[in-house]
Amino acid sequence: MLVKALVALVTVAAGIGAALLLYFVLNLIAERLPDRWEGRIKPYLFIFPAFLAIAVYLVYPMILTFINSFKDDFSRNWVGIANYRALFESSAFVKGTLFNTLLWILIVPAACVLLGLMVATLADRLGPRGEKTAKTIVFLPMAVALVGSAVIWHFIYDYEPAGSTQIGLLNGILSLFHKSPVTWLETNTLHLNSLLLMVILIWGQVGFSMVLLSAAVKGVPVDTIEAARIDGASERQIFGRIVVPQIRGTIITVFVTVTIGVLKVFDVVYVTTDGNFNTDVLGNQFWTQISTYFNYGAASAIVVIMLAALIPIMWYQVRHFRAEDAA
C-alpha cells in the first residue's frame, strides 16, 4: 500500500513536472528567436500544445472512427455500409437502442429544465438561509458519480420475491398496502424501466440546471417585474410573460448542454440493467459492441450515428458564439 502510494506520487510528480518543463522549453525557444520572429511565432507556440491534445484525442480519432465504420470487426477490410445496414436492419437496435435513446433525449432535458426552473423560482422566494439549504440539497447529487447514483437508487427500486421482506422503498410501500411487489427495472410496459433509469440521471442533473437558471432568474431586471405588477399582472402572468422570455437564452443553454450529456449516457444503464429488459441506449450498445462482441466496425458506426445527431448542435453553438462574440 505504501509502496503503491509512493509509486503513484512519483508518477504524478513526473507528469506535472514534464508539463511544466514543456512550457519552460517552449519559452526558451521563443526567447532565442530574433525579436521580429518572436512576436509572430509566440502565439502559435502558446496554443500548440492545446491543439496537439485536441488533434490527437478528438480530430484524428474522429476521422479514423468514420473510416472504421466502413470496415470489418477489426478494421482490416472494407465492408461498405454493411455495419450500418446490420444495425438498421436489427429491430433490437432500431426499436430498442435507438428508440430508447430518443426517449431519453425527449424526456431528460425537458424534465431537468422544468424541475430546475421550478426549484430556482420557488427558492428565490425563500429567505437567504432557506434558499441556500434547498439549493445545496438539490445540487448535491451532481458531486456523486453516476455509478454511485445507481448504487444509491438500488434501495428504491429493489425487488424481492413476494412473501419475503422488501428492501427497496417502492416495493416496501406496496407491501404496506398488501400489494404484490413489482420488478421495477424489468418491467418494460410503457417503457417504465427506462423512465425509472431516467429518474436517476434527472436526480443528478437538476442541480446543474437549477444553478444556471437561478442565476438567470435573479438577473431579470426588477423594474420590468415591478412595472408588470403595477399594471396588474398576476404572478403567473409575470412568470410566463416577463421572466421566461428574458431568461430564454439560459434555458436554451441548459437544454443544449443536458441534451449533449444525455446522448452520451452510459454509466446509469450499464451499472443497473446493462441494457437488458429493453433499456439499451447508444452509449451502452457501444460498450457492448467493443467489450462483448469485439466488433469495432459496429461500435464505430454507433459513434458516427451519435456524431450525426450532434452536428446540428455543433452548428448552432458555433453560430451562436460568433453572434455573441461580435456583439
Binding site: A5, T11, V12, G15, I16, A19, Y23, N27, R40, Y44, I47, P49, A50, A53, I54, Y57, L58, P61, M62, T65, S75, M118, L122, D124, R125, A134, T136, I137, V138, P141, M142, A145, L146, V147, G148, S149, I152, H154, F155, T165, I167, L169, G172, L212, V222, I225, E235, G249, T250, L263, K264, F266, W287, I290, A299, V303, M306, L310, I313, Q317
Partner: protein, 307 residues
C-alpha cells in the same frame, strides 16, 4: 472592522431604501405556505435515496438483506446494531477500495492540473495576441466542445497498444487532457477577455515580457475561472467510469468507480458492502464540492448567463 462597518451603515441615510434594492426584498411574492411545502417535499424526495444508501452502509449483512433500510428509522432501537465493519471490509476486500482510492487521486490530480496549465497558455494567446487564423482556430475549439469522447476510444486504444502504455496512469491523464481541453480553453479565454486590456498594455510599455505578464498578471487575475474549471474537471475525472474502463480497466490501477462496479458485480447481494464502497467513492467529490461550491457556481454561471 465590524465597528466601522456598522457606523457606515448607520451614517448612510435611509438604509431601508437601500435594502429594497436587492431582488429578494423587491419581490412581494414572498414564499407562501404552498411554496414552502412544495420545496420541502422536493428536498426530502431528493435526499431519500442518499439517506437510504447511507443507512445501509452501516448495517450488518443479515439486517441489510432481511429488512428495509427504513426499519432503522422506524425502530430506533436497532440503531445500536449499526457497524463500521462494511467500510473496513470494502477498504481491504477483493476490490481493495483503499488502493483504488490512491489510484483515483493519482489519476485525477494530474488530469486536472495539466489541462489547466496548457489551456491557460492557449487562452492567453487567444486573448492578448493578434495572429493569423485566430478566429478560425477558436471557432474550432467551440466546435470541438460538442464532439463526444466516444470517438477516441477505439483509435486511441489501438494507439496505446502500439506505444505500450495501455493500462497506465499517463494513458488516462493524456485522454482526459484531450477531452477536457476545449472546455478549458473556452472557459479561460472567455474569462480573460473580460480582463481590462489596459493593465496588460501598460505592463508591456513598462517592458514586461509576455511570460512575465502571463505569470504575474493574467494568471493571478484569472483565479476564479481557473478554480471553477479545476473543480469541474476534478469532479468529472473522479466520477468518470467509461474512460477508466476503456483505458485502464479492472486490475491493479483501477480507480474507485471501476472498483465500485466490480464490487457490485461480485457480491451480488452484499449490498451493505457496495453502499460502503459507494460512499468511499463519494467522499472526496462531496467534500470538494461542498467546500468550493461558491467558485463552482460562479464559474458555471459566468460562462452561460450573459446580461
Amino acid at each position: 472592522m465590524t465597528d466601522t462597518a456598522t457606523t457606515q451603515v448607520a451614517a448612510t441615510p435611509g438604509p431601508r431604501a437601500r435594502k429594497a434594492a436587492t431582488h429578494f426584498d423587491a419581490n412581494p411574492a414572498k414564499a407562501g405556505w404552498a411554496t414552502r411545502i412544495i420545496l420541502f417535499v422536493f428536498c426530502v424526495l431528493w435526499l431519500i435515496p442518499l439517506i437510504g444508501a447511507l443507512v445501509t452502509s452501516f448495517r450488518t449483512t443479515s439486517a441489510a438483506a432481511n429488512t428495509g433500510w427504513w426499519s432503522v428509522i422506524v425502530h430506533p432501537s436497532t440503531l445500536s446494531a449499526l457497524t463500521l465493519q462494511n467500510y473496513r471490509s470494502a477498504l481491504g476486500g477483493t476490490q481493495d477500495m483503499g488502493a483504488a482510492f490512491v489510484n483515483s487521486l493519482a489519476i485525477t490530480l494530474p488530469a486536472t492540473f495539466i489541462p489547466i496549465l496548457i489551456a491557460s497558455f492557449a487562452a492567453y494567446a487567444f486573448t492578448f495576441f493578434e495572429f493569423k487564423g485566430r478566429e478560425f482556430l477558436f471557432l474550432t475549439i467551440v466546435a470541438m466542445l460538442v464532439v463526444p469522447n466516444y470517438v477516441a476510444f477505439i483509435p486511441i486504444l489501438k494507439l496505446y497498444r502500439d506505444v505500450g502504455i495501455s493500462g497506465t496512469f499517463p494513458a488516462v491523464w493524456l485522454a482526459h487532457i484531450g477531452f477536457g481541453m476545449s472546455l478549458a480553453v473556452y472557459i479561460l479565454r472567455n474569462y480573460m477577455s473580460t480582463l481590462p486590456n489596459s493593465v496588460v498594455e501598460s505592463a508591456k510599455i513598462d517592458g514586461a515580457s509576455h511570460y512575465q505578464i502571463f505569470y504575474r498578471l493574467v494568471l493571478p487575475m484569472s483565479v476564479p475561472a481557473l478554480a471553477s474549471f479545476a473543480i469541474f474537471q476534478f469532479l468529472w475525472v473522479w466520477n468518470d467510469l467509461l474512460v477508466a474502463l476503456v483505458f485502464i480497466g479492472p486490475g491493479a490501477n483501477q480507480p474507485v468507480t471501476v472498483a465500485l462496479t466490480g464490487l457490485q458485480g461480485e457480491f451480488g447481494k452484499g449490498w451493505e458492502l457496495v453502499t460502503a464502497g459507494g460512499f468511499i467513492t463519494m467522499l472526496v467529490p462531496v467534500i470538494v464540492f461542498l467546500s468550493l461550491q461558491r467558485y463552482f457556481i460562479r464559474g458555471l454561471t459566468a460562462g452561460a448567463v450573459k446580461g
